[in-house]
């Protein structure tokens, strides 16, 4: 998980990782393959292995839920129409949206949009899943549902998942390895247990900013 204050550079880092932003230097390695040293074809191959959950879902407005999930399958597989529909239905059931096939994104709630976006991301069985603030704009209950879904899918499919968030509840719920970004730098890195014990001032200011976290700290 990548955490940090608003404006610290989390989303910029994520966009650099997936190749949406040009980088001035450094490397982005996908199982040893440096993304920025690859040619157009190589980059395209890596992108086919990436699933991404955008902050707003980024569903295609003109397509129904089912068409959104079918879309990457149509572009990159030779499955028949019925096979694609079966796969889409399976993915939608996996994210607990079995009856939303014919709805348009404008008819969905924020949480449903995120779940459809997850279904679309897993449809092509990615190796890497990137999530940009999956809980933004969601109520606490729906946030937990989305967090758990990301965790379950990561474990179930053996995906490497990178989540960007500033929600400490998510970090505690599903965090594994955590990176704290401060003013654009990799300021601190460690496990969930370590972040709760660290005495790094900037990390502590961020982690214990809420009363809930302060109370939690006082119990330790």
């Amino acid at each position: 998980m990548i955490i940090g204050e608003s404006g610290s550079g989390k989303t910029t880092l994520l966009k650099c990782m997936v190749g949406l932003n040009e980088v001035d230097g450094g490397e982005v390695l996908f199982d040893g393959r440096n993304f920025y040293e690859l040619d157009f074809k190589g980059k395209k191959e890596i992108r086919k292995e990436i699933g991404m959950l955008f902050q707003g879902g980024a569903l295609f407005d003109s397509k129904t839920v089912e068409e959104n999930v079918v879309f990457p399958l149509s572009m990159f597989t030779d499955l028949t129409e019925s096979e694609k529909r079966d796969r889409a239905n399976f993915c939608l059931q996996r994210v607990n949206l079995p009856d939303a096939n014919k709805l348009y994104p404008s008819e969905l709630s924020g949480g449903m949009k995120k779940r459809v976006a997850i279904a679309r991301a897993i449809a092509v069985q990615p190796k890497y899943l990137f999530c940009d603030e999956p809980n933004s704009g969601l109520d606490p209950k729906t946030s937990i549902v989305i967090d758990n879904l990301i965790k379950e899918i990561t474990d179930e499919y053996g995906i490497t998942t990178i989540v960007i968030t500033h929600d400490m509840n998510s970090v505690i719920e599903i965090g594994d390895n955590i990176m704290f970004i401060y003013k654009g730098d990799n300021w601190w890195q460690g496990s969930k247990a370590e972040i709760l014990k660290t005495d790094n001032q900037e990390v502590c200011d961020f982690v214990y900013a809420t009363k809930f976290m302060k109370d939690l700290k006082s119990k330790f």
Binding site: K15, V18, G19, L20, K44, E45, R47, K48, I50, M52, F54, Q55, G56, A58, L59, F60, D61, F71, P72, S74, M75, F76, V124
Partner: protein
């Protein structure tokens, strides 16, 4: 220097748009979808404008040709040539620039600010090719049909309203529209239309594709797209007329 930056960026975008499609069948379907939304969806407005343009040209020309030295059938000649040479290809293209151009710029601009274009890129899809190429092909193929339709309705509108208002007789109008007809004029009009169609689809798409910000910027991109498209249509109208007719 700004103009060179935009020209360079436009050239790069077009190069990407004309890149190899991921799946030809999907692009083919997209072309038909765009023909339906951009072309068929414009039939109504083109029909209304063309009929009224033809009618007004007929009445105005008849009003100005009151000299006994000018034969009555000259009204029909003027209506035919005005519609074929200029009004149908250029004026209808300007109207389509407003209708289709704003729709293309706002559609692609909205997709940009809501990260839908980023989603396409992440999937490994050439977003410029997927979004822009079908619109260009659909416009270049369908706009000439719209313009021929416009020419026909314009001349028909002139005939109907000319007779109804009594400014010209049936015989003179028919004689006028068939008098020394040059088929090359239609070819010239279709060449102009194809060039304008490329501009109508590609320039607003460029402005939409590079939208930055939110809803306000989408509106600005849409306006910019229509304004630049209109200016380019008028510029190329002059250039093509000079090259093809003079």
């Amino acid at each position: 220097m700004n103009i060179f930056f935009h020209f360079g960026q436009y050239y790069i975008l077009m190069k990407r748009a004309f890149g190899k499609p991921e799946k030809r069948a999907i692009y083919r379907d997209r072309i038909f979808e765009e023909m339906n939304s951009l072309g068929i969806g414009s039939l109504g407005i083109v029909a209304i404008i063309s009929v009224f343009m033809g009618a007004v040209i007929t009445i105005q020309t008849a009003f100005n040709f009151e000299s006994p030295l000018i034969p009555q059938y000259a009204v029909g000649v003027a209506v035919r040539d005005s519609m074929i040479l200029e009004f149908s290809p250029a004026i209808v293209s300007l109207i389509l620039a407003g209708k289709i151009g704003s729709s293309i710029a706002s559609e692609i601009g909205t997709m940009r600010v809501t990260e839908q274009i980023d989603a396409l890129e992440i999937m490994g899809i050439n977003s410029a090719g997927y979004l822009i190429l079908p619109k260009i092909i659909a416009s270049v193929l369908f706009n000439p049909i719209l313009i021929i339709f416009s020419m026909f309705l314009g001349i028909l509108g002139g005939y109907v309203f000319g007779l109804m208002s009594g400014v010209i007789t049936d015989f003179d109008y028919i004689l006028g529209i068939t008098y020394e007809f040059r088929p090359f004029n239609v070819i010239y009009a279709l060449i102009k239309t194809a060039v304008f169609a490329f501009i109508i689809a590609s320039v607003p798409a460029y402005h939409g594709y590079y939208t930055k910000g939110g809803a306000l910027e989408v509106g600005k991109s849409s306006t910019k797209g229509v304004v630049y498209t209109s200016v380019l249509i008028l510029t190329f109208d002059l250039i093509l007329t000079q090259v093809l007719l003079v």
